[in-house]
């Protein structure tokens, strides 16, 4: 038995000591950055896929478009140095930057712009935002550094659209390989990709613009909120542009090593409603729901206080935002009265389909409990995105669902025919049609606020809250974006102090 005892002792000692021996840490150098992200991109070609994670790695870092979107949502020149817009607003002449090279050493010129835009709008294109290019009549190369884009009708947001990740300029020779080996013009080159773990970018020494301060940038994928927290605390990750668990924020805020920035996103989180399906086709029922949901309780319960209640489909940080939260104050009596008027004094039963994100799953449980108080009994059906898209979004087979609409400036979706809200209002459509051809800022803002009021009045959806962006990073890092006007982690201005 002595041998056995020795064995046992050895086993105990090994398990006890192993963690101590292994406790050494690697210290990050000052010219490298490890950025945490919740989701891994499926591939790295922003022109052939919708997932925001693609843009969050490559946008502005590896790939550039004609224009780019700045940290405040403004349109900045990028590969196009400047542009002229014709009187009728239909012809855009882009003057391209000279001396730009792709990462494989080949030159960038007007042919690439034509190729990229034509490819995106071509029949059989797999661009996820093909609508961005739908207004283009033709793209012509005037000379090596000048491109003329002819639009079918004037489009007020064309320059903004060209700044999307889906509109980046790629080279014909490398376009098909971009999914696995992206070749762009940006300040970082693609380094390596460990599937399931991280993507590594390295500095592009031949960049045309201001060189970046970082030598390497690593995007590490950690979807688990608990794991994210410990990676942050351990210093394995330097920054999270969007920390996955709002409940961990107080702990990170209290830690002097970190800077926590609660910014805003373009994500209007709404209780999407099927406007043609009874009883939701009755505006009184929709207004009753609007009165019954306690937005602040949802923000507190689902997002641990992070998020701004909204009363319409518009980002509160936008200058044209109209605060309509008080249009439908939380008022159960008013809600019950409206329901009774609509013929449902005792409420009714309906379904609530919830996609995977925390805001939807937690928010949905709270909404269901709030609506139960006015007699609306919701059956919660959790669905994966793979089911949500065909069932809810495409086939419109749903009563209610919760989703965050993260595209910037997307109030126009309410005028889309056949959109999954099944909402149609001619007054609203006229406003959007006018907005699309208006270029003056003041007039645009006036139209936007009108649009916000119409959908609020119709209580099209249950407007819940604007998704917060909970950025956490090492306090010594400068230049990370505090807000996210586009889905991106623009690292061009990032550096370490000392």
């Amino acid at each position: 038995m002595r041998t056995l005892k020795k064995l046992l002792a050895a086993a105990v000692i090994t398990t006890a000591i192993a963690p101590l021996v292994l406790a050494g840490q690697a210290i990050a150098a000052k010219t490298s950055l490890v950025m945490g992200m919740a989701l891994e991109p499926p591939h790295l070609d922003p022109t052939a896929g919708a997932p925001a994670a693609i843009d969050e790695v490559v946008y502005a870092n590896v790939f550039e478009g004609l224009t780019r979107i700045g940290s405040k949502g403004e349109v900045l020149p990028a590969l196009a140095e400047s542009w002229d817009i014709s009187e009728d607003g239909k012809t855009y002449t882009f003057k391209l930057r000279v001396g730009v090279k792709y990462h494989d050493g080949s030159d960038f010129n007007a042919e690439d712009v034509k190729f990229s835009l034509d490819r995106a709008r071509a029949e059989g294109s797999t661009n996820a935002q093909k609508a961005l290019f739908a207004g283009i009549e033709s793209v012509t190369v005037k000379d090596a550094n000048t491109v003329v884009v002819q639009l079918k009708s004037p489009a007020g947001n064309f320059l903004f659209n060209m700044g999307w990740g889906d509109a980046v300029i790629v080279a014909a020779e490398t376009a098909d390989g971009n999914k696995a080996n992206p070749v762009g013009t940006g300040p970082f080159k693609f380094g390596s990709w460990v599937k399931g773990a991280s993507v590594n970018l390295v500095k592009n020494a031949d960049y045309w613009g201001t060189p970046v301060a970082l030598d390497t940038a690593t995007f590490r994928f950690i979807s688990d909120p608990a794991a994210s927290l410990s990676a942050m605390l351990a210093g394995d990750v330097d920054a999270f542009a969007n920390f996955p668990s709002p409940e961990s924020m107080p702990q990170l805020q209290a830690d002097p090593r970190f800077k926590v920035v609660i910014g805003s996103t373009e994500g209007e989180t709404i209780l999407s409603t099927n406007n043609t399906k009874p009883p939701f086709n009755d505006v009184r029922v929709r207004r009753a729901i609007a009165h019954a949901i306690d937005r602040q309780a949802i923000v507190d319960g689902a997002m641990f206080g992070q998020g701004t209640p909204i009363g319409t489909h518009f980002a509160p940080h936008h200058p044209a935002y109209v605060n309509l939260v008080d249009r439908y104050p939380m008022d159960l009596d008013a809600a019950k009265k409206l329901l009774a008027e609509a013929g449902f004094p005792n409420g009714f039963e309906a379904t609530l389909k919830l996609p995977p994100p925390t805001y939807a799953r937690r928010g949905g449980e709270i909404v269901a409990s709030q609506l139960r108080k006015i007699g609306i009994d919701l059956e919660i059906i959790p669905v994966e995105w793979g089911v949500w898209v065909p069932e809810v979004f495409k086939a419109k087979d749903y009563d209610l669902t919760i989703v965050s609409h993260t595209e910037p400036m997307d109030i126009g979706i309410y005028s889309r025919k056949d959109y999954y809200f099944n909402y149609s209002n001619d007054t609203f459509n006229d406003i959007i049609a006018k907005l699309n051809v208006t270029t003056g800022e003041a007039e645009r803002y006036a139209l936007m606020s009108e649009a916000q009021k119409v959908i609020s009045e119709d209580a099209v959806n249950g407007f819940m809250f604007q998704l917060a962006k909970s950025g956490v990073w090492n306090a010594k890092i400068n230049g990370l974006w505090e807000n996210s006007p586009v889905q991106a982690n623009d690292l061009t201005g990032v550096s370490w102090s000392d």
């Binding site: 688990d224 608990a226 319960g301 409990s369 059906i381 959790p382 669905v383």
Partner: protein, 279 residues
């Protein structure tokens, strides 16, 4: 019967296991008509309270009473695991008995069919089944039940095979009874003991598996609480609300332990030979 009770009461495992299981079942049954608080009523203002005299096990991130949730969760765990066992016994035992009675090619093909199911890692297939039919308690039952079928089929086949050459079966055959009748009248009553013991073990495993499925979001769906789902919700809040993770886990451990002890005890009580051999 009296002697059975006497032996049973002298068996420590049986008594402990029986007590624990009874308490859990009693909690589950009570939850149908009474819980200290309503588990579907959220009170965000009262969230994340540690255990105290009002909320004995504290509250969760929605301000729900965890004690009430444990009670209702017991109901779900037991229902899922129990129905899955019933499926396993109800389909597996007849298959096993049939295979043993007929023998030959039928036996071979039924048992090889079992092998196919056995070749799938249980949890992986449960994940696939819930992907096909959607998440939910019913589909969790189907997924777990399917894995109980071959377990009981093998057990029933093995046990009945050992009975067929026995004298009393031979006598029954000589008396002209057909195989089906013999199986029903003689085989089934004689393999009941082993099946009951295995059933308690499968019950315990079912509870762990259900918790695992619920933990990855494929089991019982909200608003009804389930132990596994409570654990997954607790994970990100562990640094400031550890009670949310510790309590549902303890509930699982105690229930499974109770069932395993009950199974062990039953085995000893029902088959005294084993008792003598091992202890």
């Amino acid at each position: 019967m009296f002697r059975f009770l006497l032996t049973a009461l002298r068996n420590g495992s049986f008594v402990t296991g029986f007590l624990i299981t009874s308490i859990v079942i009693a909690m589950a049954v009570t939850s149908f008509f009474w819980t200290p608080f309503d588990v579907t009523d959220l009170d965000i203002a009262a969230k994340l309270k540690p255990p105290n005299e009002v909320n004995w096990f504290g509250t969760d991130h929605f301000g729900r009473d965890i004690f009430s949730m444990i009670m209702v969760g017991a109901r779900n765990s037991i229902a899922v695991a129990l129905v899955a066992v019933v499926i396993g016994v109800g389909i597996g035992v007849p298959i096993g008995c049939w295979a043993a009675a007929k023998g030959g090619l039928l036996d071979e093909s039924l048992m090889r069919g079992n092998d196919v199911i056995f070749a799938f890692p249980a949890l992986l297939s449960a994940v696939m089944i819930t992907a096909v039919f959607g998440p939910g308690a019913i589909n969790a039952i189907i997924a777990i039940g399917i894995f109980n079928i071959p377990v009981f089929a093998r057990l029933a086949r093995g046990a009945s095979l050992s009975l067929w050459p026995r004298d009393f079966i031979m006598a029954a055959r000589a008396a002209g009874k057909n195989k089906t009748r013999i199986t029903i009248e003689h085989i089934v009553p004689n393999i009941a003991n082993v099946v009951i013991v295995q059933a308690t073990i499968a019950f315990a495993l079912g509870i762990i598996l259900e918790a695992g499925l619920a933990y990855v979001g494929l089991g019982t769906q909200p608003p009804l609480p389930s132990w596994g789902k409570m654990l997954s919700e607790a994970q990100t809040m562990m640094s400031f609300a550890p009670h949310m993770a510790i309590i549902p886990g303890l509930a699982i451990v105690i229930t499974v332990l109770g069932l395993n002890l009950l199974g062990d005890g039953l085995r000893d009580v029902l088959d005294p030979r084993l008792t003598r051999k091992h202890d």
